[in-house]
Assembly symmetry: C2
Homo-oligomer: 196 residues x 2
């Protein structure tokens, strides 16, 4: 089965490729000539995940093509901040997007908060054969006061997953993939595709 991942991120594409069972071929946006940034005007992570997949499905339709398409969208939700930054995680401190500025803003917003609970969430949307399927992965944890670690990206230097004392930025990528929000959503997608 030919699968299209609505992403231009080669690391993500490689990771999913390694997990796919035999009989599946994975393509990225560049493979089908989509080079523009896909709009993400949704008000929730789930909605943006759907909008990305749907954008590509519509684009393929115009070209008379049909593929099974999926997209992912992720965000961090801090309990004390009414689940902010959520859908705005990547541009919390404005544009141009900056991980450092976003982390600084999060530290500031939480500075007077005793409740440090947060969760990372990923929603994958698969559009296939008349169905729209969602796969959700989450990892609960807390937000540290000071960034630690050099791996990962985004809020990883501040996020300490439940049951651990180190931040995601102090995990190797293999360790992180095994328990992360995106890793869990991808695992659900893979299990689902295997059962097809």
């Amino acid at each position: 089965m030919q699968l299209l991942f609505a992403s231009s991120n080669k690391n993500k594409i490689r990771e999913v490729t390694q997990l796919l069972p035999e009989g599946f071929s994975l393509y990225g946006l560049q493979d089908i000539g989509i080079e523009e940034e896909i709009p993400e005007p949704g008000s929730t992570i789930k909605e943006n995940s759907f909008l990305k997949a749907n954008y590509v499905v519509e684009k393929l339709k115009k070209d008379g093509k049909k593929m099974v398409v999926f997209a992912d969208d992720s965000g961090l939700e801090a309990e004390a901040l009414d689940n902010a930054p959520g859908v705005y995680s990547a541009r919390y401190a404005g544009v141009p997007k900056s991980d450092t500025a976003n982390n600084e803003k999060l530290i500031k917003e939480l500075s007077s908060q005793l409740n440090r609970k947060a969760r990372f969430v990923t929603v994958i949307t698969l559009i296939s054969n008349g169905a729209i399927c969602y796969f959700e992965g989450e990892v609960k944890g807390t937000i540290s006061n000071t960034p630690r670690g050099n791996n990962g990206f985004g809020y990883d230097p501040l996020f300490v997953p439940e049951g651990y004392s180190k931040t995601f930025a102090e995990f190797t990528s293999e360790e992180k993939n095994a328990i992360s929000h995106r890793g869990r959503a991808v695992q659900k997608l893979i299990e689902f595709l295997k059962s097809k």
Copy 2:
């Protein structure tokens, strides 16, 4: 595969049973001892469809059981009424639910409207193996000023599907199933299950 339809409506269950490919066994709510009415507190048809399926999944989980579950929810959306009655279609004129009172209210609300366009929509939610899948069916049409026909239920006596001059209540059930919102959503579900 064992499938549970989160419905107590024997007509619906029989209809889907007839369409299922070999290898699938369909059960209804009564088969697993759920006799209470499932709450539908959602603000959209899609949300109620999900909530019904999820209610049953959670109930089965408590009993240590696991099945593939699906539910449907439907409604009528009139363009001139900002898509009302929508999620309130069954209780548009209040409770206890009455098809006659609902039809009368719809005629009244549309009496001064030149735009008679409407659509029936069904959303089926399937919860299976970590995925939440949606199948949507719609049929476009117009709302008549006077009810006609004795078949069907709900707003069928007022709904004239595009390309026809008779109301859904003047269709036989086979004719209606072939083009109806629910028929189309069920067809998408069946195609999807066949591909599994």
